[in-house]
């Protein structure tokens, strides 16, 4: 596939080579909605491209794709690619509830990227239309606001009703041209748009494929019959995994994430149904299978054909792996097929994969000098090997001054190679912080052993919940605005791993300063905070701690010191009022 300069040509070649393969989409209840061969998928995308062209979309224009997993999603996203426009996939809306912050964030993205078109579901289009174009600053934690009218917002069916432009031609992009933008959280929670090139996307797909197939085969051709996924398409893992399999002509079965979350067994049934299969998911997906699939439901589930279970995009937890292997080993799943890896949007997706073919391995976190006591440490004593760097990619561990550290010492992980992004769209400052002399500063902490990577924590105060990134800043802003303290009562949000609940991953703790001691008011505030966080993020808080105003330590510039507060919380030294 590397012989092709761009995604449309590479995808067209794959569709010709594997005429029988295609895409099957399932609904929230796990029922097949329909099936298209890859040739049909591409033909439909080209028609969508001609309609987008008729709408006035040109090469380089940003098109926001806010749709659930569906044929419509592929029409619009791939249609934009064929046109040379830049698709930007975003969450189609909160799973439960209409979220004010998420909407403000989407409008901020539209403003920041100067998007020309938004393609969304009818309900999201209605919410956008109802939202004031320039929301007051009080409705979002400082996101960009639109100073021009909202661009056109259309549903896929409205686009399908348009007449296609005549004489439309597929854009002939070069490998170094940007193909699409991938959203990822910035330091304040407002997304940054990662520029992924045609060459970078094709390289990373090839690298993922080689890593997944090794050591059994050189690539997935003839090794894998089908692929089943629920990971959303606006997530880098969902997107690149699916592109990879389309480029390799492997049959693709996709369900919306809501289907998996509602009934995790559907995913495993899909995996069991179609011969030799591969699947990817963040750690939380495997944990959800352990938690929500009862022993009685294991009956009749044959996972012996599940060739590779790729786990990346969030910290791999030892308790999850051992309980998953124990439970699903009874269904024939083989431990050596559990495949840890590491990736991030700024590297297109994949940076490292453990492709040795053995059972997952751990090493103790090195003690002594280095970063291991940083606030972002996961507090794990043993961490998983996520493998060596993928195809043509290099890894380095660095000290705070940027100098390389020897093996066995914990530092910031840096990566370089063909899959590394070219910068954030319209954000030279963030790009300069992240790309240094051709190396990507990942913000993740880890160490190398025999050239293989082990992750131990994060430099940034990032919360990764269910594989999605959340910045503490967003929760703190929400807490401060809920309490109505006028910004004088500060909040701190951080995550902890409770001993017995460790397998559930990160638990979120919210600490807020208050100016009174009335127990009834404190209890009411505590509930208000839980309700607000539930509405905006669909998250439950593991603990809400209310403390006296002025108690939270701050830096001289007024930033709350989350690491110090977290330590005090864990040692019980935080004087709580409620």
């Amino acid at each position: 596939m590397s012989a092709f300069p761009n995604l449309p040509e590479a995808l067209a070649a794959a569709a010709r080579e594997s005429p029988a393969s295609g895409l099957t989409i399932f609904d929230r209840r796990g029922r097949a909605v329909g099936r298209r061969t890859f040739a049909e998928v591409l033909e439909s995308a080209k028609q969508a491209a001609a309609r987008l062209a008729a709408k006035g979309i040109r090469s380089g224009d940003r098109v926001v794709v806010a749709l659930p997993t569906s044929f419509d999603w592929f029409d619009i996203w791939l249609g934009a690619i064929h046109l040379g426009a830049l698709p930007v996939a975003t969450a189609p809306g909160a799973v439960v509830g209409a979220s004010r912050i998420q909407l403000a964030k989407l409008i901020g993205v539209i403003a920041k990227l100067d998007a020309k078109l938004i393609v969304s579901t009818e309900s999201l289009a209605k919410k956008l239309a109802d939202e004031p174009v320039s929301p007051a600053s009080s409705s979002s934690p400082g996101y960009p606001v639109l100073d021009t009218p909202l661009p056109a917002c259309m549903t896929p069916s409205a686009i399908a009703d348009m007449n296609p432009a005549s004489g439309f031609e597929i854009a002939r992009a070069f490998p170094e041209n940007t193909a699409f933008l991938q959203l990822t959280s910035g330091s304040t929670g407002f997304p940054r748009a990662v520029q992924v090139t045609h060459g970078g996307a094709i390289h990373n797909a090839l690298a993922l494929d080689a890593g997944v197939a090794a050591p059994h085969a050189r690539d997935s051709s003839g090794f894998i019959d089908h692929w089943a996924s629920w990971v959303p398409l606006h997530h880098d893992m969902g997107l690149i995994s699916n592109l990879t399999l389309m480029l390799k002509g492997v049959d693709l079965h996709l369900m919306p994430s809501e289907a998996f979350l509602g009934r995790p067994r559907l995913w495993l049934e899909m995996l069991a149904s179609g011969g030799r299969t591969v699947a990817t998911a963040p750690n939380f997906g495997y944990q959800l299978c352990v938690d929500r699939i009862g022993n009685a439901e294991l009956e009749g589930l044959d996972l012996s054909n599940w060739q590779v279970a790729f786990s990346a995009a969030e910290m791999i937890r030892p308790e999850t792996v051992s309980s998953f292997l124990e439970k699903f080993g009874r269904c024939g799943f083989k431990p050596e097929n559990y495949r840890p890896g590491y990736g991030l949007a700024e590297a297109t997706l994949v940076v490292a994969i453990d492709d040795t073919g053995g059972v997952p391995r751990t090493l103790p976190v090195p003690q002594g000098a280095g970063f291991q006591n940083a606030a972002g440490g996961f507090g794990l004593s043993e961490v998983f090997c996520v493998g060596g760097p993928v195809l043509d990619t290099r890894l380095e561990i660095t000290a705070p001054d940027g100098s390389a550290l020897p093996e066995g010492q914990v530092g910031e992980v840096r990566a370089s190679g063909p899959g590394i992004f070219t910068g954030y769209y319209n954000d030279p400052e963030a790009t300069a912080e992240t790309l240094v002399d051709g190396w990507l500063r990942t913000g993740d902490l880890g160490f190398l052993d025999s050239g293989e990577l082990y992750l131990t924590g994060r430099l940034k105060d990032l919360l990764i919940i269910r594989g999605e990134n959340l910045m503490p800043h967003e929760l703190e802003w929400l807490a401060e605005s809920t309490s109505g303290g006028g910004g004088l009562e500060r909040a701190a949000a951080f995550s902890v791993t409770h001993g017995t609940d460790g397998a559930r991953g990160e638990q979120i703790i919210l600490v807020l300063e208050v100016s009174h001691k009335d127990p009834a008011k404190l209890e009411a505030l505590s509930r208000d905070l839980r309700v607000a966080v539930g509405h905006e993020f669909g998250l439950t808080l593991a603990d809400v701690v209310l403390v006296k105003r002025g108690l939270l330590p701050k830096t001289t510039s007024g930033k709350v010191q989350r690491g110090v507060i977290r330590d005090r919380y864990l040692t019980g030294d935080l004087a709580r009022l409620a």
């Binding site: 929230r28 799973v95 439960v96 979350l261 509930r527």
Partner: protein, 85 residues
Amino acid sequence: MSETPVDSALAVLAILARETGIAASKINETTELVGDLGIDSPWALQVLVEIEDELDIEINDDEVANLHTVGDILKVVATRFPAPS
């Protein structure tokens, strides 16, 4: 099998009580799914599937996106079991 609006509402409360371990008598229309019952989004989706299966109904995606309180669920469910006129 629930056939009346009252039966279906009681069935929903029983499912929520069973899922969360919180007594049905402590759950009412204003109870928040996330804030009060601690049901986060993945869990909420599972609870909805339980409700759909037990009551033999389907809740569409647009309806799912607007459920905050127990009352919100009851309202949607009630549309599937209209009171006899």
